[in-house]
């Protein structure tokens, strides 16, 4: 049994050697040596209440942090939903813009180049290489990029 540390003892932590309690097990076979339990050592902790308080505070802090993480998870889900909604709205805007574009009459833009210029251009320009269709499906980013390129092309012809 370990000795109890009293308040009158010094504040320093004392390592106390526990009385070695040798348990002699009654073996059925008297020829065998008796088994002994290993000696155990205990360390006395001063101010246990303070330490317990710190540990409880630590646990509370950890729980608070975990709670924050849960709140953050919920917020991220909310953010994701808003992003999806935003994406939907932007797609609707795109469709409406396209609708307006289609509703307005197509105007033939007079070409600036003269007939001779066009001939020269035809003579110098080589036929464009035929694009081999890609097997893999295009990502949304690629589709948007190609749409943007086509619109920029149209804008250049208007200028």
């Amino acid at each position: 049994m370990a000795k109890k540390t009293t308040a009158s003892q010094t504040e320093h932590v004392k390592t106390e050697r526990v009385k070695s309690k040798t348990q002699v097990t009654q073996s059925k076979n008297p020829q065998k040596t008796p088994k002994t339990v290993e000696e155990q050592f205990y360390i006395g902790l001063t101010n246990p209440a303070q330490k317990r308080r710190i540990l409880l505070e630590l646990t509370a802090d950890h729980l608070r942090l975990l709670k924050h993480i849960e709140v953050h998870k919920a917020r991220r889900a909310e953010k994701k939903a808003i992003f999806q909604e935003y994406h939907k709205v932007m797609n609707e805007i795109k469709v409406l813009t396209q609708t307006i574009y289609n509703q307005l009459p197509k105007q033939n833009i007079p070409h600036k180049h003269t007939h001779t210029d066009a001939k020269k251009q035809n003579a110098t320009t080589k036929p464009a290489p035929v694009d081999v269709p890609k097997a893999r499906p295009r990502s949304e980013l690629e589709t948007l990029e190609s749409e943007l390129a086509s619109i920029e092309k149209k804008l250049q012809t208007l200028q």
């Binding site: 504040e11 320093h12 932590v13 902790l45 001063t46 101010n47 303070q50 330490k51 710190i54 540990l55 505070e57 630590l58 802090d61 950890h62 608070r64 942090l65 924050h68 709140v71 953050h72 917020r75 909310e78 953010k79 808003i82 992003f83 909604e85 935003y86 709205v89 932007m90 609707e92 805007i93 409406l96 813009t97 609708t99 307006i100 509703q103 307005l104 009459p105 105007q107 833009i109 007079p110 600036k112």
Partner: protein
């Protein structure tokens, strides 16, 4: 470039105006969504700061405990 006037049917014109109004509504809702995203972002940043402070508190307490245990 010479500007050539384009004539649009009245019905089509009205339709275009209607679509433009719809577009305006959509743009307003997109603006609101961006404001919400911005708000969430600010909240996240403030939360991150709180986490930082909380973690440093925990660290300090662990240090204190460690010191007390070694005394």
């Amino acid at each position: 470039m010479e500007e050539i006037p384009v004539f649009v049917k009245v019905d089509d014109y009205k339709e275009v105006l209607k679509t433009i109004n719809e577009l305006k509504v959509k743009i307003d809702s997109a603006k609101e969504l961006i404001a919400e995203i911005h708000k969430i972002k600010e909240e996240e940043e403030s939360e991150l700061e709180t986490w930082k402070i909380g973690l440093s508190d925990v660290e300090q307490k662990i240090d204190n405990l460690s010191v007390l245990l070694k005394q």
